[in-house]
Symmetry: C2
Subunit: 360 residues, 2 copies
């Protein structure tokens, strides 16, 4: 099979970690007989440096022409980088918001998994996480407060700012279906998170999710208020299988959940549209403080490449091979610095990529 | 001094825990020479049962006529209680939203404290919480998404829901000033939480908070994005002193922070307006499953009464006396069931109140 992959290396540690993911993809191609062809695309800070804006029409067009996009991380140090002298709509992250909308990437999947090998890094006590946990946060990514109308107006010398949260039932339905579809391949439980005791959008959300649920009689649905969910992630993360929620709640809860694992450097993500197309990126940030040092953890990006094989190319066997190789290297005791612990062997970004390749 | 206190016993465990707080207030009155007079007010489910609505004009008027209101907890089991057959605007919690607005209670203070005696209940590993933590979440309580315009409209058979998030600079300024005032009495650090990389309201928030900060040169201000804050609360709660944030972010983060302590039954809260008036209530819910059993933890409500003495009556010595008495009883090894651990003595709601009184 020919895999036509757009690559956005991104900022900070992005280029280093993406390089390792490409190395792993090439090895998969070699072993399983696929040809990966890569088109390098600019976005974020790297695009500002060259074009003055974080996302050009050329990048959008080239991304659309690919089967899938693999991305490093976007952005820099907000305190020191000149990118953050620009107004918000011109900063690196604006490119991320724009590409989501342009490519209609409404379904953001963020697994939060506690790896048994890494439970030492988990901030929660062992009795809470005993046996591990494995949840999938399904965040709506192109609607809600992040894409509503916004404005700041001055009346009689007083500034007032407005942001609008809006969802229509079709937007809710398509993400809900995705959530239930994923749950069917997992432990068949969906926790839909909203603030239905206050928001109209949440009441619509809940209504539509209940309608969709009737099409999936095997899946158990529960509703949870967002404030309660923020508590439950800390109190008992094992209770969750799929968490289905809107854009902003998903932003907050997925980051909380990833920190609860203690190993954000291990967490992949996928942003999908109605077709097979997807954008795949690590959950963590661009970590400008360690960029260029060869110590960043490439595993989240490598696992994002595995998600790409699974969701955009239906290459489940190949995705499994990557995931198993990662597990094997962890088992062998190799760690990058962010997941290092006593008695393990610390290695750099590139050696981690090599070792994962060696098991494929 | 004469303390003219409105009392909303509320639902579930509310009446039991408020009774203990009144007992403690009476003891304080006796020892320090104050006369507490209580006016019982109905709100929430208890008000629905009698008047059909969760908050009557009489309750609002009587609350306004008091110096302060002490409240238990509002609401019931959403799955089984008949209150939840009513439309959302008529449910118990609607009374809570309404009284906040009617009494202009814009400043919600929620301490999240890890008591050394109770660190066993904290879900975080000991190395993260070593030495304990003590933060104050300052949540804006009468603006933002929870009080904006909302509507659901049907166009061509498709439902669309809208909720508006709006803040004007005066609303931001008054809560920011409160946050900095509190920080001045604490460790002089304010973490202002927003989503300024996306929302106009957050950009206004950040601008105004920076202006206010110039009036408090001794206070260190940092800005943190809400998704990052949700992570930092789990990763390193000791870094926080005052967290200053808008209504919805505060709802989510304060609940997360309270769960991070592991002892939600210990956490008080205050909701204040521009005057000395305030409404004081425990952070936890109405726990209908254990209502009437005499096992609920009254400490959060008793500590809320202490906050009332401090903020509404400037009776700092008396507030200290309550807080010290609570600490003493914990030290003696007495626990209600929710905070029970090996080697401690389990007692009920009323004995807990008695023991706290005995130290005043
Ligand atoms: C950079 C920012 C706009 C973005 C978001 O909030 O969606 C990020 O936090 C994320 O979660 O991908
Ligand atoms: C009951 C609900 C409306 C309320 C809120 O979200 O403000 C509650 O969760 C709280 O935090 O006091």
């Amino acid at each position: 099979m020919r895999l036509n992959i757009g690559v956005i290396k991104g900022d900070g540690i992005g280029p280093e970690i993406v390089t390792e993911a490409m190395k792993v993809l090439d090895k998969v191609g070699e072993v399983y007989g696929h040809a990966c062809s890569y088109t390098q695309l600019l976005m974020g800070g790297a695009s500002i440096d060259v074009h003055g804006i974080p996302l050009t029409d050329e990048t959008i067009a080239a991304a659309k022409a690919s089967d899938a996009v693999l991305m490093g991380s976007i952005g820099g140090d907000a305190k020191t980088s000149p990118w953050y002298q620009l107004e918000p709509s011109k900063r690196p992250e604006a490119g991320l918001l724009k590409i989501r909308k342009e490519l209609n990437l409404f379904a953001n999947l963020r697994p939060a998994v506690l790896y048994d090998e890494l439970k030492g890094a988990c901030p929660l006590k062992e009795e809470i996480t005993d046996g591990g946990f494995d949840m999938m946060i399904m965040r709506e990514l192109t609607g809600g407060l992040y894409f509503g109308e916004r404005k700041t107006v001055e009346v009689d010398g007083v500034l007032t700012a407005y942001d609008e949260l809006t969802y229509n039932e079709n937007e809710v339905r398509r993400i809900a279906k995705r959530g239930f579809d994923i749950a069917m391949k997992r432990r068949k439980k969906v926790t839909s998170v909203d603030k239905a005791n206050v928001l109209d959008s949440s009441r619509l959300w809940r209504k539509v999710v209940e309608e969709v649920a009737t099409e999936y009689p095997e899946v158990t649905l529960e509703h949870m208020l967002v404030d309660n969910c923020a508590m439950q992630l800390v109190k008992d993360p094992r209770q969750f299988d799929v968490i289905l929620t809107e854009n902003m709640f998903g932003d907050i809860l997925s980051d909380e959940a990833s920190m609860v694992t203690g190993s954000i450097g291990m967490l992949a993500s996928a942003s999908l549209n109605e077709t097979k197309f997807g954008l795949y990126e690590p959950s963590g940030g661009s970590a400008p403080d360690i960029a260029g040092k060869g110590i960043a953890n490439p595993i989240a990006t490598i696992l994002s490449a595995a998600m790409m094989l699974r969701f955009s190319f239906d290459l489940d066997k190949e995705a499994d091979a990557i995931e198993n190789a990662v597990a094997q290297v962890l088992k062998d005791g190799y760690r990058t610095i962010d997941i290092m612990s006593e008695g393990k062997t610390q290695i750099g970004t590139s050696e981690m990529g090599d070792r994962i390749c060696s098991y494929i």
